[in-house]
């Protein structure tokens, strides 16, 4: 009896001892690891005075917007084949917001986002005093997709304006048969709109697509700007009426629109093209109804290129207002340019490799054979500006 009790006591003591040792060891271990991480971070951010020959392998890690991921992977594959393995690039599709945040932390060599650097990000950059550039690399556009079986069977295409779209998602237009929608349609098609409630589908996850879409709505509808605003995630007034719902990812929205008659949703153009969903025409600033496609998106970006802010400027509280709702008979109103962010004062190897890669992306990479289906290259005007911005990366001397 006594013996077993004693052995029990010693066993408890030993358990406590062992747990204690493990705790201490892991704390010390994690401290060391953390210190090492912070050391390597400062190492990548601070310029290294010693410059070695560029013959050795350079690793680049980038990450961010998931929308550009297929295009990015295609570019990386072709570029790495061309350079014969002297530069190794790795792009992680982690989302625009995460791309920006991780790049700011110094964990990524370049960040990519569907929209420009955010206000919070810009403030952090100003605090740190680091010099950086943001460079547009490809065109992006948001398409409105819908599911109106009878309407589509009759060979009709939905026509909408920015204000009606805002009113739909604000919950002010309830039914498809609302006169504000009917009057926009071609005469023959007006009768095919169902007298049913509109089911408004949106992204439930934070996304650059939502940011683009809500920026456009904020631009065209004062009520939207005041009540909702814009961002990766917003509060959707239509949901409160039980007439709206979220879905995860572009593919989730597409699937839900396809599965739900009388619904409307918004997706990146590439998804609408690949999945062959009915796409609505939007009225542009000059009063013409236009489809999103290569011609209309590039036309809008051509107009936007004139007022593209500088590479180091804050792109404003409504960062993409230069892009949206531009003049021109053929301009599609909801466009943007996913952009990459890079620090300027980098070690020479890294700066050279980044420069080489993005220079290729902005020249060879924009040619049709290197563009993935559904994506649209930058128009010439925008491309030239982007190349100018990129020159800042090149270390002088």
């Amino acid at each position: 009896m006594e013996h077993s009790l004693r052995s029990r006591v010693t066993k408890t003591r030993r358990l406590v001892l062992i747990v204690g040792i493990v705790l201490v060891l892991s704390t010390v271990g994690s401290l060391i690891v953390q210190k090492q991480i912070s050391q390597t971070e400062t190492a990548t951010v601070n310029p290294q005075p010693e410059s070695k020959t560029t013959s050795r392998l350079v690793y680049i890690t980038g990450g961010g917007a998931s929308f550009i991921n297929p295009q990015m992977q295609a570019w990386i594959r072709v570029f790495m084949e061309k350079t014969g393995g002297t530069i190794s690039i790795n792009y992680q599709s982690i989302g625009s917001g995460a791309g920006e945040a991780k790049w700011l932390e110094g964990a990524l060599d370049f960040g990519a986002s569907d929209i420009a650097i955010s206000k919070t990000g810009y403030e952090k950059l100003k605090e740190s005093g680091k010099r950086f550039i943001q460079v547009p690399i490809i065109a992006g556009s948001v398409a409105l997709v819908y599911n109106l079986p009878r309407f589509s069977e009759a060979g009709c295409t939905l026509r909408l304006t920015g204000e009606t779209v805002a009113d739909i998602y604000l919950g002010k237009i309830i039914r498809w048969s609302d006169p504000r929608i009917v009057e926009l349609q071609e005469g023959r098609c007006r009768n095919f709109l169902p007298d049913a409630e509109i089911f408004g589908i949106h992204r439930s996850d934070g996304s650059g697509t939502t940011a683009l879409f809500t920026m456009y709505l904020s631009l065209v509808s004062r009520e939207w700007a005041e009540r909702v605003g814009y961002g990766y995630t917003v509060t959707w007034p239509r949901d409160a009426l039980g007439l709206g719902e979220g879905a995860r990812g572009n593919e989730g929205v597409s699937a839900k629109v396809q599965a739900t008659p009388n619904s409307i949703g918004y997706v990146e153009l590439a998804y609408a093209v690949q999945l062959k969903l009915p796409v609505a025409m939007l009225r542009n600033r000059d009063g013409y109804f236009v489809y999103p496609n290569a011609t209309t998106v590039m036309e809008a970006l051509r107009a936007a290129a004139k007022e593209l802010p500088g590479p180091q400027e804050f792109w404003g509280d409504l960062p993409l207002k230069h892009y949206m709702n531009r003049e021109g008979r053929l301009s599609y109103p909801i466009v943007g340019t996913p952009a990459v962010f890079m620090y300027i004062d980098l070690p020479k190897d890294l700066a050279d490799a980044l420069y080489e890669f993005f220079k290729w992306v902005l020249t060879e990479g924009q040619k049709p054979e290197n563009i993935v289906e559904g994506f649209i290259p930058l128009p010439e005007e925008m491309r030239i500006k982007a190349l100018q911005y990129l020159e800042l990366l090149k270390p002088r001397g």
């Binding site: 066993k11 030993r14 358990l15 062992i18 747990v19 493990v22 705790l23 892991s26 982690i94 989302g95 625009s96 917001g97 995460a98 920006e100 945040a101 991780k102 955010s118 919070t120 990000g121 409630e197 089911f199 589908i201 439930s204 996850d205 934070g206 996304s207 909702v228 605003g229 814009y230 961002g231 990766y232 995630t233 917003v234 509060t235 959707w236 949901d239 039980g242 007439l243 709206g244 719902e245 979220g246 879905a247 995860r248 989730g252 699937a255 839900k256 599965a259 739900t260 008659p261 009388n262 619904s263």
Partner: protein, 298 residues
Amino acid sequence: MRIRRFLDVFTIVSLANSILILSVVLVSLVLVVESLPIIARDGLLPLVTSIWNPVKEEYGFLFALGGSLVTASLALVFSLALSIGSAVMYAEFLPRRFRVIVKNLMDLAASIPSVVYGLWGLKVLSPVLRTYIMEPLSELGLSQFVGRPTPAGTSIFTASILLAIMVTPLASAIIRERLLAIPSHIREALYSLGLTKVEVITLELKYIKRSILTATAVSYGRAVGETAAVAMVVGNVINLEFFKVFKPGYTISSLIADQYPNAEAYYFMKHALFYSALVMFFVSLAINIVLLKFGERV
């Protein structure tokens, strides 16, 4: 000599144990540290408000907390009914030659990835439930209690049915094995008392209630933590009336999965998400403790 004594089985076992304890401690530590900023700003406010408006940096996750608890509890009720039913069927009625097939099928069902369940839930289950259960019921006048289903058919109710289907194979296996392990002399004694089959089964279930409780705890854990499938069928809508189960809603896990990737573009969103995880962690802990304490007593 002392070293050899120290490196016995007990040491290895307690080392494994301490790593487990350590990971729980570290996880809760990270949750607490990461949620401190929002706790400092809002205190307990996020627990009782239902606003998710990053544009204005307003975060209140009552809707998701409620959604999580409602989906998990409903799923638990459905899955208990399903798993007890199927376990009894297997152990008491199924002819021996079918057992292998049924057992393998059930185990297969447990190993299907949750995304596949999610897709099936979205494409098949949601419209079926809407047309044959939710719409008729809400038209019968229940809509003021359970809400009106949306055209997509995704709702808190749909999510809990899907969850029930997903957790049943595991829960059923636990109950089934325990039923089969009841010593035959007990079963024979029950029959020799002249009890009917139904009475025997009832007594047998009472006999293994601890295992049923274990199955409940395991299913609850899985139901509350499930993300991929739930995110596809729960509707992902900020719903203040999460108790109206035919309406779409949110759960904590699907909220985190949805919002985390871009959270760092905002000042407080990441902290709010960690806070919601922390709250869920403690709620789950409390529920597990209650379940196990309750189990000790009965």
